[in-house]
């Protein structure tokens, strides 16, 4: 089994992983960071989105060993102590969730969208969330949340 070294939310960690271990499995089961959810496990739903060297990826469609040497960001890394990230606050304010299962992927994606395009408009948000499915179909509040979160992130 190969050993990999990654930085997860700023902390370096070295672990042995199996060839077939997905990045999502590594994060949830070996690092015990269960905020990253596995929804479909067929790389369609986006619940498992994390950042890999700053880019959003579906962690169920990446092998853990492919991430060797990379910086990984998960939902647990967004808050600053007890202070939630502005995007998390916006999701709470607008009730941008129903069952909450898709929320980690939605929030990670939303933060990345705004970081890449601070002035993103509603059209950009809707297209940017194409890879994230909310099976409760609670999209309208999610869009409202991302708009507010984007405004807060712009400061």
């Amino acid at each position: 089994m190969p050993a990999i070294t990654v930085r997860v939310n700023g902390l370096e960690v070295t672990k042995e992983v199996g060839a077939r271990t997905l990045l999502s499995t590594f994060i949830r089961e070996q690092l015990k960071l269960t905020g990253t959810h596995v929804g479909c496990d067929t790389s369609q739903c986006g619940a498992c989105v994390v950042t890999l060297d700053g880019k959003t990826v579906k962690s169920c469609a990446v092998f853990a060993w492919e991430a060797d040497g990379a910086d990984i960001g998960t939902i647990e890394g967004l808050a600053d102590g007890d202070n939630m990230h502005p995007m998390q606050e916006a999701f709470r304010e607008h009730h941008g969730l129903q069952c909450g299962f898709c929320t980690p992927g939605m929030v990670m994606t939303a933060v990345s969208l705004v970081e890449n395009n601070p002035d993103i408009d509603e059209d950009g948000i809707r297209h940017g969330l194409e890879g994230n499915i909310c099976r409760c179909t609670g999209y309208q509040n999610i869009i409202d949340a991302v708009k507010t979160g984007a405004k807060a992130m712009r400061g």
Partner: protein
Amino acid sequence: MYDFGIKNPTSVDDVKTALGESDDGQFLAGGQTLIPVLKQRLAMPSDLISLARVDGLSGISAGGDSISVKAMTCHAEVAANADIKSAIPALAKLAGGIGDPHVRNRGTIGGSVANNDPAADYPAAVLGLGATVVTSEREIEADNFFTGMFDTALNEGELITEISFPIPEAAGYIKFPNPATRYALVAVMVAKFGNTVRVAVTGAGPCVFRVAEMEQALTASFSPDSIKDGMVPADDLNNDIHASREYRAHLIGVLARRAVAEANG
């Protein structure tokens, strides 16, 4: 998925060695198709030969009359590249419409072209723009590359290293995406090079194809009106739960007209 060994070569030569040492090795590029396929146990390679750490397989370089995209360049990079946006905007648009943002951050041009999915976007760009596929062994013209459904002219173990796109005078790409997958239900790339026009269609048949009748009509007059209904017969087109072959035949005409209009600005 079935178990497999891992190889992480760092040069094209090492890739050949790694493949030679494997019983039934398979290249892993971005993995956005291969990993789901492995999960479904539809493939059972003895080893995955990762191309991610191979030197010199990623990046975009613009020459005078062509733009070269290295095989491991991801879709998001192509979509955002300033040279491509300015010289071949239709190619940037095509790359920016593949899958979703997360897929575009991992999926690569080499992986997509080698896979030759009948509904993938990139085959339409490669064939429509008349690109050259550069491999570890040779250069293959687009017209000779796509040989059938999920089939290409690549030999066993032959590795795509880059795709070279000639810069057209004008080009347009219009896709009718499957609303769930964003794969092309039908998509058409139209490109004009001086007195030559190329029209490539993906999603409609078992493999990307050109439409000679449209190319001739557009060579005579590069206008949407040159495209007439019925130029592509429905007989050999895909017929499935997503669309009938007749509907796909109709879409080819509609999308080709829009692609010409887009090319004309």
